[in-house]
């Protein structure tokens, strides 16, 4: 679907067209699910969070004014939903190794290593994990990540630095000597 068609859908949905909203929700469900999945690392939570996000989308679409890209706006929505969701369920995101491991394209030892790194990433403090995922995994700039997470560009840089330091302490040695 092209950008223009999306824009048209958003416009129609905002003016109260339920069919347009349904089409929009269907179009972006996958995007939202993938965002949610990255932030929680397992399917069950991701589905729940995406469902909540869809409902929030229905409630909040009128606050989208088109001054940022729709996907960044959606990011914010999904991330905030995920945060609230974890808060209300009193839990913490956890990559679920046993049931549904994130698919990793690397092979053999590399794959095991990657799994460990990802598991460690999910153990990071929320702010650092979110920043790291947005920048490293989604390829956003520090500025964009800042807008989505509601903090300054420099905060993002600092959080990523912190996160790398922590991951480094965990993995560097093993790599060198192991």
């Amino acid at each position: 679907m092209t950008k223009n068609e999306d824009r048209e859908l958003i416009k129609r949905a905002r003016s109260g067209d339920a069919t347009a909203f349904e089409a929009l929700a269907n179009t972006y469900y996958e995007t939202m699910f993938k965002m949610a999945y990255k932030f929680c690392g397992n399917r069950q939570d991701a589905e729940d969070i995406t469902q909540d996000s869809c409902i929030r989308l229905a409630r909040g679409l009128h606050t989208f004014k088109g001054d940022s890209a729709f996907t960044s706006w959606l990011y914010r929505l999904v991330i905030n939903t995920a945060k609230d969701w974890y808060k209300s369920n009193n839990r913490h995101p956890k990559s679920d190794e046993g049931l549904e491991t994130a698919q990793i394209s690397a092979q053999g030892d590399d794959q095991l290593y990657a799994k460990q790194v990802i598991a460690a990433v999910y153990e990071l403090p929320d702010g650092e994990r979110d920043a790291l995922l947005l920048v490293m995994s989604e390829g956003l700039s520090h500025k964009e990540a800042g807008q989505i997470l509601g903090c300054k560009e420099s905060t993002i840089s600092w959080r990523i630095h912190e996160a790398r330091k922590k991951l480094g302490a965990l993995f560097e040695k093993e790599q060198k000597y192991g």
Partner: protein, 687 residues
């Protein structure tokens, strides 16, 4: 750690493809929400005042920058209009309160107050729209704003109240005042502020301590214990009598336990409530004189060879939106210490707000709470004055012990005060069922409720939380007080009970509905009623109008299933050696085509004399369809969970197979969810 390497690993996290069912469910839910919001929007007047103007400033952080910015703009706006602006900045160790009093030359104008839904983002918007209003310099208002920036506390106090709709700001343009969910200001204080004729310089009220982290009780849930109904010989006891049950509490409880990987306590499984959780397309009565009509279907039993199942299905007619009677509702909310957990009080608040959205502007709502003592937080208020109600709900906080009985008395008193003979009068109790001050035994509370029943007020019991849930008390209350019980574990369940089924929750179409079936010994030798153990009645109770029974709401469906053993095949019970052989009814007699005779008694909501519906049950009644298969699968599941001994080799896999065949359109994913639960149960049971 090597950046390139880390980047490569993280880039390669790939989310799996989303599940088609999950997507359908989510999109359907969202579209439903979208439509209901759209309807609401259409019903609110257009052209909002500048006070309520929507802005896109939601992207602000929740911390200090917001305050500073608003402060600057207020000052700027003030100068631009040659207004005197007084800024009082009070900083305490715990929180910052900014109190701003703006004066205008034309002070004669009336005091305006705005009442906002409180939420971190909404707070930001409110500040901004106010600042902008001042900038544009038109209003001649004296505004008093009490602002406290406890966004974090607020958010954690009401985690389930999802994104406060900004549209709420539109209501009540003429009132501006502000209070916070997290601030814990009690509603009486709030109302006092509102009724003041002139705004004095606002005084800084110290906020109470933030709520302690919640505690979670475990293993103190109370259930009434009961045995599955036994097989009965038609020769000994040809008549079976029971009260209908439209509650669904048991299903939600079972779901919650199974989702945690636990097989629920057998006493928590009430099979009829599992079956009745789902909606079935039974035919409606032709005329409205008769509120419902029974549909009887006979099928083969999937778990016993040679046996048959008799399904009795009832669907009540639905009330049209325009003919909905006026409602007089009283919410009784348990705010005792045990309610202090995210799945309790915050969920209660969200649920009540959802319910509020389904009401008509003319309906009245009152709010009472009980903890150590009982008190009225909100006198009966018209729904058109929605902000006042929302504020009162937001101001609820948990703490203290539980004087439930006093709360019930108070709630009924309020309902009686505004009793509407023509309308619907209903008390909603939201509780975890833990009553520990004053009258607290099930029996004594039952006596209170039975007395109240005479007044014509209906009761809905909404159960929340787990760990300390008193299911048996909830059932006692609902069964004896012309009431229903539902258990609410998630926001989606709240939606199902309070929004999708609002009309059946609110509008009873018949009360004291009893069912009596007499089996024909010529064709049936044994029968067994599946479920309804807690609803059994004596044979003579059927015609006694003083005996209370279940109520049916608009659009409710009720299903009852009997398993019967036809005459001539080997039954579960050996025939008696000494009983005299009765002369069998001759084949070809008047009744040789009837398995039995079904009688139902009900009263219309405002009447005290019962009416009778009766119909014979032919041998080949009805045609099996997907709904019947579904109900059978659910009943089978319930019996498996209870460890019922009558279902032979029937397994969870059989349930899944049957359910998959009968799933149908499943618009809101409830049936898909059921199938998942069966899988969970299979894993939890290790089978």
């Amino acid at each position: 750690m090597d950046e390139a390497k880390l980047k490569k690993i993280l880039e390669n996290i790939e989310a799996p493809a989303p599940d088609e069912n999950a997507r359908k469910t989510a999109v359907n839910l969202a579209v439903a929400e979208f439509k209901s919001l759209e309807n609401q929007r259409k019903n609110t007047p257009q052209g909002n005042s500048i006070w309520a103007r929507l802005t896109n400033k939601t992207t602000q952080t929740r911390s200090n920058p917001m305050q500073q910015k608003s402060k600057q703009r207020l000052m700027y706006g003030g100068m631009a209009t040659a207004m005197a602006v007084i800024l009082i900045v009070g900083i305490t160790t715990q929180q910052t309160m900014v109190n701003t009093v703006g004066h205008d030359a034309m002070q004669a104008a009336k005091l305006k107050k705005i009442t906002f839904e409180t939420d971190g983002d909404a707070a930001a918007i409110a500040m901004d729209s106010l600042a902008e209003a001042t900038e544009e310099s038109s209003p001649a208002y004296v505004a008093s704003i009490q602002e406290s920036n406890e966004a974090e506390t607020t958010a954690s106090a009401a985690p389930t109240s999802m994104a406060a709709p900004v549209g709420r700001l539109t209501a009540n343009q003429a009132k501006v005042s502000r209070s916070f969910a997290g601030a814990g200001a009690d509603a009486s204080r709030m109302m006092m502020v509102e009724s003041m004729p002139y705004a004095p310089p606002p005084h800084v009220v110290p906020l109470p301590e933030p709520i302690n982290p919640y505690y979670q009780e475990e293993g103190r849930d109370k259930f009434q214990d009961f045995k599955p109904s036994p097989v009965k010989l038609v020769a000994d006891e040809p008549v079976s009598t029971f009260s209908i049950d439209v509650d669904t509490a048991s299903y939600s409880l079972v779901r919650r336990e199974l989702n945690n990987g636990i097989i629920p306590n057998p006493d928590a499984v009430r099979i009829e409530e599992l079956v009745n959780y789902f909606d079935y397309n039974y035919p409606l009565p032709e005329t409205r004189e008769q509120p419902f009509k029974p549909t009887v279907t006979v099928t083969d039993s999937p778990w016993s060879k040679d046996k048959k199942l008799v399904h009795i299905g009832i669907k009540g007619f639905d009330v049209q939106t325009d003919s909905k009677p006026h409602s007089n509702l009283v919410f009784l909310v348990d705010v005792s210490g045990s309610m202090n957990s995210p799945d309790k009080l915050p969920l209660v608040k969200s649920s009540l707000k959802m319910l509020l959205d389904t009401l008509q502007p003319n309906d009245t709502v009152a709010l009472t709470v009980y903890a150590g003592s009982a008190g009225t937080v909100l006198e009966p208020t018209k729904v058109s004055d929605k902000q006042t109600i929302l504020n009162a709900i937001d101001n609820l906080n948990a703490g203290g012990s539980t004087a439930g009985a006093a709360g019930i008395e108070e709630a009924y008193r309020l309902a009686e005060k505004h009793f509407d003979k023509e309308g619907v009068n209903r008390v909603f109790i939201a509780t975890d069922g833990d009553f520990n001050v004053g009258v607290s035994s099930d029996e004594d509370l039952k006596t209170i409720i039975e007395k109240k029943r005479e007044s014509g007020i209906f009761l809905s019991v909404l159960g929340f939380g787990l760990g300390n849930l008193n299911d048996s008390l909830m059932q006692t209350l609902a069964q004896n007080g012309n009431g229903t019980a539902a258990y609410i574990d998630t926001i989606n369940e709240a939606r199902k009970v309070l929004v999708e089924e609002a009309s059946s929750t609110l509008f009873p179409i018949a009360k004291d509905v009893k069912i009596q079936v007499e089996f024909n010994p010529e064709l049936v030798q044994e029968y067994r009623l599946i479920g309804y153990e807690t609803r059994a009645l004596n044979r003579e109770d059927f015609n006694n109008d003083k005996i209370d029974a279940g109520d049916i709401g608009a659009g409710h469906t009720v299903t009852a299933i009997y398993e019967i053993t036809p005459a001539g095949v080997k039954g579960s019970v050996d025939p008696s050696r000494y009983a005299a052989k009765k002369e069998a009814v001759k084949p070809g007699s008047e009744f040789s085509n009837e398995l039995g005779f079904l009688k139902m008694r009900y009263k219309l909501p405002h009447e005290n004399e019962s009416k009778l519906i009766s119909t014979p049950i032919p041998v080949d009644a009805g045609a099996p369809n997907a709904d019947i298969t579904w109900a059978t699968a659910v009943a089978g599941f319930g019996q498996l969970l209870k460890g019922d001994t009558h279902i032979g080799n029937f397994t969870y896999d059989d349930v899944i197979k049957m359910a998959n065949e009968a799933k149908g359109a499943d618009e809101f994913g409830q049936r898909a969810e059921f199938i998942n639960l069966v899988r969970n149960a299979k894993v939890a049971a290790g089978k």
